[in-house]
Every structure is written in structure tokens, then in C-alpha cells.
Amino acid sequence: MDNKIEVLREEIRQKLASAKDLSELDKARVEYLGKKGSITALLKGMKNLSNDEKKTFGAEVNKLKAAAAKRIEERVEELKKLQIEAEINAMPKFDITAPADLTRGSYHPITLVQRQCETIFKSMGFTVEDYPEVVTDYECFESVNIPKHHPARDMQDTYYLENGQLLKSQTSAAQNAILKKYGKNLEENGVPIKAIFPGRCFRNEATDASHENTFFQMEGMMVDKDISISNLIFFMKTMLSEVFQRDVKVRLRPGFFPFVEPGFELDINCEICGGTGCSSCKHSGWLELCPCGMIHPNVLREGGVDPEKYTGFAFGLGLTRLAMMKYKVKDIRDLNSGNLKSLAQFTDDDN
């Protein structure tokens, strides 16, 4: 009988050693340790033995059984380890330095610059207003102190529609509506009017690299009891410094615009040459950016705000111009070209 145990022990040893994977091991487990397995069969074959013999033999078989079970566990662990190792070795080395796929969407550059301006003014408590593109003569001209036959109407060649309405030639067309919308709250509750209104404007003119018939402006206005020229300069300087992320130098020159008095042309020091003079700034070191001024009393009055009690400033920033300066776009026509080769580059800009 002892011999039988030894034979089986040797068989198990060899079988387990040669098992190549977990399923072979599992088969071996069933073959030797299962209910109908070889070891169990040994125990069953004991019934003819004496009690002493049974005791001795049984103990030997149980020892074999335990040893086999232990050996199987060890082999399982070994094989698992090998498997992981094989898996690790099978992993190829990737070339992470290969160019990344940057395919993604894009914003129109005007949107990006507009958002920057909006963010700055929103942070200072300004509302952002929306306004139509088709407006009346009253909105665009009469309400902002440009009566019929005023020479200022010559300055802007306006697109008129068949019904007498027009495509707004300036964002100032929204001034009257803004004053009317918020004037009551100013008068009754002392809430200052602080609004910006970005929008598309239209001028009937031939297009070339620096002229477009369709472009964006951003109008801004603030009206309260003691709004001053000093405040106006502050807000303009603050906004431009934020947009350009540098300490922008600005200067005001007198400028004639019927809706403001006094009126100014605001120049910023040339981004390209830093103010020393180059072809972009016509060698002056300054770029004309934005007409602005103190809102004309007639405009306030027409909007229902008492000019004896309140003063305000307004500005009309050329968003298109600003975007061109910021991104160094040379041909204004690229912006409305709808051409993705130009425009898909503006993925985002958190500056």
C-alpha cells in the first residue's frame, strides 16, 4: 500500500510541475483531490486493512492530500505571476512624443475679444445688453443728437432699407433704449446706469484690407450723479490694460461726435512699436481706437434722464479693430470670410 502512495505522490509532483496554465492545474485538482479523484480512491481502498494499518495508511494519505493541495496553491500563484509578467512584457512601448491630435472647435476671434471686454465690465457691475441690427432713423440718429441733415450723417454712409429703416451704423443706436430702460431706476432708486452693448454695425462702403461694411463695436455707458472725464479715462485705461494684459498708455484728443460733449478720440500707444513710431501707427506711436466722451445733455434728455442732475460717459470701442490688433490680423476681410483656414485657429483665449 505504501508503494501506492509513493507512486501517486511522484505522479502528482510531475503533473503539477508540468501544468502550463491554470486550467491544467484545475484539472489536476479534480483528478487527485476531487470526490472521484485518485487520493480519495486510495482512502476508499482501505476497507480491507486492519485498524492499525488504517490509521497509519490514512494518516499518510491525508498527508499526501494536504501536500498536494498546498502544492496546487503554490503552482496557481506561480502561474498567476507568470501570466502578469507575460502581460507586462506584451505591452508595447508607446511613443508619447508623437504629435497630439488637436482637432477641436473654435470661437470667432470677435467672440473671444468681446468676452474679454464683457468679463472686465461685468466684474465692475455693468450689464451686457443685446440690440437688433435693423433699427429706425430715430434710434440710430435722432435720439443721439444727430438730427436730419446734420453733417455727421455724412461721415457714415448708412445702409438704408426699402421701408426707411436702416442697418445700424453705430452701436450708439442702442443708447436711447438703454437710457429709457434703466433711467427710471436711476431716478427713483439711485441705481447708476452701467451698461455695455456689443453689436454688429454696417457702413455702406467698399471693402479692402482695412475697410469692412460689416464690423463689431462695443458701446458702453455709465450715468450717475457725478460721472466725470476723470472716470471715463479710468474705465478706458482699465479695460484696455486688461485686454492687452499690459499697462496701456492712453491719451485723449478732442473729437467731434454729436452724441457726446466734450467728445474725444482715445488713442493707445502702439502695440507694434511700443510707441516709438512705425508704419502701423503712421509714425506717431499712437493708434486711434475709440471715440468717447461725456454724454451730450440732449441725448440724456431724449432718454428721459435729467442732464442737470446726472452726467455720464459713453464710448464706442471698435471690437473688430481690437481683435485685429490683438491677434495681428492684417486683412479685415478674413473675419467675415467664413474661411476655416483662417478662423479655426481661435480655439480659446483666456487672456
Binding site: 473654435s106 437688433p132 441705481v191 476723470s230 474705465f235
Partner: protein, 788 residues
Amino acid sequence: MFLSMNWISDFVDFTGLDKLELIHKFSLSTAEVENEILFKGSDLSGVVVAEIKSVENHPDSKKLHLLKVDTGEAELTDVVCGAPNVRVGMKTAFAKVGAKIGEIEIAPRPLAGNMSYGMCCSEAELGISDDNSGIMEITDDVPNGADLKDIYEIDDIVFEVDNKSLTNRPDLWGHYGIAREFAALAGRELKPLGVEDLKAYDGLKKVDLKIEDPLCYRYSCLQVENITKSVSPVNMRIRLFYCGMRGINLLADLTNYLMLEMGQPMHAFDSRKVEKIRIKRFDKPFTFKTLDEVERNIDENTLMICNGDQPVAIAGIMGGLDSEIVDDTTTLTLESATFDAASIRKSTVRLAHRTDASMRYEKSLDPELTVPAIARFLYLLKQYDGGVQVVSALTDEYAYKYDTVELSFDKAFVDRYTGIEIDNDTILKTLTSLGFKAELDGDNFDVVVPSWRATKDVTIKADIIEEITRIYGYDNFDVNTTRSPLYPVRMDVVKENEDKIKDILVKRYSLHELHSYVWAYYDELKELGIEVEPNIKLANATNPNIETIRNSMIPTQLCQLNVNKGYAPEFGIFEIGRVVEGMDENNLCIEKKKLAISLFSKVKDVRDLYFELRDILAVITDDLKHKQLEFKTAEAIHGYEHPVNLNSIILDGEVIGKIGIVHPVVGKKLDKKAAIVFAEVDMQAFADKKNASIIYDEPSKFPPMDYDLSVVVPSGVLFSDLSQCWKNEGTEILKNVKIVDTYDTELFHSITIRFEFSSSERTLSSAEVQAVMDKVIENLKGINVNLR
């Protein structure tokens, strides 16, 4: 407009001051100086006065002459000269050897075999006029050898001001007005103009003059005789030339000079042609030949100067050919007048003829100028031509006088507007230096606006602020933020929605935002076989391609896809822009703000692309509103819409847009292989829909139960029809329904629907789920949907 510092210096003493610095100040305080400042005469040296002592014909040339000239030195100089006007005894400008004229340095050189030691110069060569007809003629009284620059005002600083920046300043259209600004900026006195006393002629007969039209505000005139000189003095011609005008003859030059000096246009008539001056309009149109020999159409709105009933000049614009000064003119009538600015402007536009005079009249000239201009004219004329005789009294009709503008304000007003401290003395001094009569009583100012600023420019208190601050200098301002109270700010919903939508489309779906024009592009659309649909048009479009305002952005985007079809095999574009959807009951445009999206793909089939776009819209709606869109089959009404799969987009029961596939005719023109889908959503309608709040659904602690049902869907039955079958069943426990599989054969279309059940209160029993599903199956059978 070009301005000469020499001319300005006639009226302000700049001794000890930096003129360039003053020009810079002028640019910041008055009007922008454009382009580079010109240093006239700086490239000219070594040119002297020389007298021609002998003239011989050149042996080998018909044109050239051999001259000996006296340059004030001991020896005569040999010169070869080709000018036609050489003669013995003539004095001319002579560039000696070593002289510099522009880039050229004069050196001895042979000309057709003879040595020439210098060059006789024309005025054009010297850069002091455009006269290149011959060498310069210099009067006999000038000594030979004198440096030309010592005799004439050749050295000058000339700068240019953009006319547009002077639109509101009629007083700055002449050097005297400019000099007033310089005087104020420099803190120096403005000298008075030299004028002739016209009272001396009061005893003479008056000119027959009558203003018969309110568009003429003032008409002043004077008759003079016995003008013997015809050529203007050199200095006058240099100034005119530097300021961009050609020298013509003494009278014409003088009227131009006066206009450039005082801003007052003047005109000289042959007195025989203006015996009865009448200013009026005519009832009927006619043609009129102006002195530039152009026949012009005059209508009933154009103001004319007439001799009785015979028109002789277009008021404020140009004189007539027939009344011009001619060779046998003996007496001339000088006109100095003021007209209604708007009328002149409109006539200028009608005639499409803008002159130096009309440009000034358009700006609302000061009528007080007319008489001083005549007095100045006569003063200058007499200086050059002493024999001139005045043969009429000053005749002056002053039909319309502007009101005197008086303004009162206090220092607090100035403080409030400026936000800085400017003291009373500075205010007073500034206003006085600009010609305002200003009086200070305590902190109160009483100001009388000078007539030359009172025609339209300075009418209200705020205008005074500009005068004070611009001379004070904006560079000198302290910059301060406001002290306004703070209140919360509410943002516009459309604007907020817009920003979020752009972010979703760019960041999640990698679409590209483009901008476009608000009109339909005829040519580009034609290329795609899309007709421009009738809509309101521009009344004054200069380009027929952009005449009609678009009624949808989809055609625009199809054009943009066409431009970009080579950009990538697959891409999408979007824009939030405007369209006009016809007219309202008041004949005003119904303008709509739209979100338009178009997708282009050569990779995906049209079904996948269509559902991609549907999902984009669904995600936007879920994200911004926490709501679901519904769709309803729509009828194609535009040529570019595929009649199948065009759907209305519905939110909260209202149609807010449409989604569709491009019509194959258009699609094939655009790209034979690409799938193209589009959607357009009304932004206002979308923004108006309330945002539903998120309702938190606590995850159940009890196991969920799924129930899959495979059904055959007859054609024409939509998922939205199926969903009616479980809409009211098991509402407590049926949490979600989705399609998990589709199976199509030639015979039928089948889908597997997964019903997800769960309860937060109990473990569901198979029986209760089955009970719900039995009802659903029964309902499905009711609409002829059976189990597979």
C-alpha cells in the same frame, strides 16, 4: 488742410518757444495733426539772386543758351540754360556750384560741349510753386548775390490737419483762427489783423443789392478799380503753394489768400456783369456754366447769385464763367457773404461738386466775418498795388443774425464734469484767451461766446467744459474710479444662453463659429442652385450681390460649407446671427436672432450625421433648460431642404426651429459624396423657455429590474408614438425607457426596448413588473405593434 507756421507766426510771437512742441500740443488740444510735419526749404541751400548779363545761342542746340550771370561776385559765371524766358537784364534764382536742391548737389558739368557752372532754377525746381514754364523771375530791386532764403519765406514748417477733425469748428478753416488756438496754447497774445478802414468810403454810392432768399444770411460787397498789378508777391504765392493752392493771378490769389487766412470765401465779379445783385432760388431747373467751364444742372433748391434775373454764380460753391474777371475788366465787385450751411451742403451733394468755399460754408461760417474780410482784402491789395481805388461804399445786407450765446455756470459744475480740480483763474484765463468774454463773480461764471464759435459749435454749458479741459490738457488729468453705489446686476437671458451654447458647440462638439453677412449672397447661392427668396432689400446697395436681407442663415451656411469643403473630411460650423422674417403690421422688419448649425461629413452616413445634430440640440436643451425637445415632421418650403426628414423643433409645445437634410440637388452641387445636415433655432424663443430645476433622484437601495421587449415597428410609426403606450403605465416604478438594439430585415423593422424599473421603497416583485408590462404590450398591440 495744410497750415504754415510762418503764416501763423504773423499773428503770434513765438520767440523762445519750441514750435514743434506747440504743434504737438495743438494736435492733443485742438485737432489731430496728420502725417509727417514738413520742413519746407530744408533741402535747399546755396541758391542766390543772379542777373543775366549776356545771352548767346548755343552753337549745337536750338534750345540751349550760353549765359553769363552776375552772382554778386567779381567775375561773371558761365551757365548753359535751356529755359525759354532768358533775356539780358533779367534777375533769376541761381544755384551756385555746391548748392543743394533736394537730393541734387550742383557741380560744374558740360552741357552739349560747353561747361556750365551752376543752374538757373524755375520756381518748381525750388519747390516754391508748380511753375516750371521757365526760370524764376525776380524783381529788379533785389541785390545780386543775395541768398534767396533771406529774401523770401522759403523756410517754413508746414503741417496737415484732417479736415474731418475740423467739422465742428468753422473758425479753424483759416490761419487766423488756428493762430488763436496757438496763442491760447502758448499763453501769448493774438495780434489783431491789419485792415483798411472802410468807413472812409461811406460817402460813395452803394451797390444795387438785395437778398431775396432766407438762405442767404449776409451779403457784403465793395467795388474797386484801377488794379495795375497782375502777379502776386512771391511770399504770398509760396504760402498758397505750401498750403496746397496754385498761384493764378493777383486777384484770384488774394481771394484764396483771404480764405486761407480768415476762413471767409470771397469772389470777384466783373462789375459790368453784376449791376443788380439779387440772391435767390429759381422755380425751374436750368443749366449753368461755372468758371471751370462745366455745364451744371441747377435745380429749384440751389441758391444763386444773380444779376437781376440772370444767374452769375452758384452761391457759396462757384462763380459763373460769364461773370469772371477778363482782360478788359476795369471795375470789379468783391463778394463776401454767408449762406445757410445745410443748403450749401445739400447743393454740393446734388451737384457732386465740393469746392474750398463750399467746404467752409458747410461748417456754418460766422456772418460777422464778411466785412472784416473785405477790409483785410483791401488792406492787402493796397500794400501790393498802391493805385487801387474804391468806387463804392461798403454795401452790406445782414438778413439773419445769430443770437448771442451767453452761458452761466459755477465752479461746482466744472468740478462735477471734470472730476479734478481746475482753479477759477485757470478757467477764466483759458476762456479769455479763446476769445470768450468771461466774468467771474465768486464761484459763478458769466460767459459770452464769441461770434465765430456761436454759429453752432458752442451753445451749451457742456461745450464750455470742452474748452476748459482741452486747453488744460487731458494728459494732465488725474485718473479716478467712480464713487457710485453698487447694486446686483442681472444679465440678459438671451446673452447668457448664447454664451453657454457657444461653449457646448465648441468644447463638446468641436464645431467652428463663423461670422457672415446679414444679406443673401446672390452669386455664391447661384453657384449652389439656391434662389434668393424675396425679402426686404437695401435701398442703397452699391453691389447687387448684397441687395436682399436674408430670411434664414441656412443658405449662408451652405455657402460657407462650400468655401470650406476642402478643409477637412468632416466638420461643423455654427453662428448666432440675424435674419429678417418679413414685415410686421407697421411695415417694420421682423428681425430674429438665430442659432444656425450645419454639419458636413464625407465619413459618416447621413443618418448618423442627422442624429448627431439631433443629439447636439437635445444636449443644449437638456443642459440649459433641463427639458426635452420634441420633433414634428415639417413640410419643406425652401429649395435647399430635403423633403424627407425635415422636422420642426418643439420646446414646451412651441416650434422654435427646424432640423433637416440638404436637398440632393443643392447637396450634389456642393459635394457629391458628402452628407450635409442643418438646423436653425430662434434664440429669443429658446431663451424665453423657463429653465426647469434639477430634481434630485436618490439612488435606490433596492435592486432595479430591467425588462426587454423586442417589437416589430410598422413603417410610419415613430418612437414617440410607442412612448404613448407606456406614458401612463407604472409611473411609480418605470424609471427609464431606451432602445438597446435595432434589427432590420427586408421585411420588417424591429427594435428592442429596455424598460428600467426600480423603487426606492421596496424590492420589486416580478409579478408587479409583469403586470405593468402586460398593459404596455396590450397598448402596443392597440397601435399594431407586435412582439417579434
